[in-house]
């Protein structure tokens, strides 16, 4: 078992976990300047080389959380 803290120097791993949470998680409120779904898609497109899914391992039931703009 290994531990990676958010502030850890192991940047490559921590960055995925971090982006998954600060962009994919958090409360979504409409701001005056805010990212539209299209903008978030753009971010995801630009990160696609780094982040992708092995979604077929995930169950098809409700406890699979694909909400909140997570990377798929």
């Amino acid at each position: 078992m290994t531990e990676v803290l958010p502030a850890d120097n192991n940047r490559r791993i921590a960055l995925v976990d971090l982006l998954d949470r600060v962009l994919g998680g958090g409360v979504v409120i409409t701001g005056d300047i805010t990212l539209s779904i299209a903008d978030v898609d753009l971010v995801i497109v630009s990160l696609r080389t780094l982040i992708s899914s092995v979604g077929s391992l995930l169950p098809d039931d409700d406890d699979y959380d694909d909400g909140g703009g997570g990377f798929v």
Partner: protein, 262 residues
């Protein structure tokens, strides 16, 4: 919107009564001093940022720059994590910007009830991530060991037979991994208030050859965090061919939105 203007970057929302002193000495995504905007019994944790960098157009442009994104994501998280150490917080998705404090106060008033419900859900709790990496070859051999039969090596048919066995062996390993992930997730949920499985990240990013079979995240009572970590260590000891990794504690990014992102 003036290019020389400023915007108000929103980091998180907390209860006004617990907000005293929580932002002292903190700086944010633009190096700005973090401050509070209070209203309706709530306090928004904000910073004033220049629109030439954080306005709509620049923001969109910057978000495609991974270095910029990484730096700002870490700064956004650092503020929220610092506040979370002393008060319950509802983290706000990165890059939510308002034109002035009045607009922030209006949001606190309009979503007052939902913020209180979200705070109630996360108070006294942290988020812990648990990932499980499976080594396919270990799972294959564990499932059913295949021996190379002597004399098969030379012919094309033999090659194809061997290839077919390897593929079905891999498929079985995949099924074993999926079942293990389900078992681990269920075991971890017993030590958590709630938990979710997120899409797994690509193996190339973790620098591992192994499969990420579980990318779970769990809402855990602060008082039960030790038990949760012990449970992870216990599962690690009894699970062959799978490596577990804990991240966090994180502010409740994956759970605060449950009552608000409707």
């Amino acid at each position: 919107m003036s290019i020389d203007g400023v915007g108000i970057w929103l980091y998180a929302v907390t209860a006004a009564e617990s907000a005293g002193g929580v932002v002292d000495g903190l700086s944010g995504v633009a190096g700005e001093k973090i401050r509070l905007v209070a209203g309706d019994g709530l306090a928004a944790i904000v910073g004033t940022v220049p629109l030439r960098e954080f306005g709509e157009e620049p923001l969109r442009r910057h978000l495609e720059d991974l270095d910029w994104l990484a730096t700002k994501a870490r700064a956004h998280d650092a503020v929220i994590s610092a506040v979370a150490r002393s008060a319950a917080v509802v983290p706000v998705t990165m890059a939510t910007v308002y034109l002035d404090d009045e607009r922030v106060r209006a949001v606190l008033a309009a979503r007052h009830r939902e913020f209180l419900a979200a705070l109630d859900r996360v108070t006294g709790r942290d988020e812990l991530g648990v990932k499980a990496y499976a080594d396919p070859s270990t799972l294959e051999s564990r499932d059913q060991p295949f021996q190379q039969k002597s004399g098969e090596r030379r012919s094309g048919t033999a090659y194809l037979m061997k290839r077919k066995r390897e593929l079905s062996s891999r498929e079985r390993a995949y099924r074993v991994a999926a079942a293990e992930a389900e078992r681990l997730h269920a075991a971890l949920l017993k030590h958590a208030v709630d938990g979710k499985r997120k899409p797994a990240s690509d193996p190339s990013l973790s620098g591992r050859d192994s499969w990420t079979v579980l990318n779970g995240t769990y809402l855990v009572a602060k008082s039960a965090e030790g038990d949760f970590r012990k449970a992870v260590a216990g599962l690690q000891e009894t699970t062959a061919g799978i490596e577990l990794e804990i991240t966090g504690p994180w502010p409740p990014y994956s759970f605060a939105g449950d009552v608000m992102n409707e």
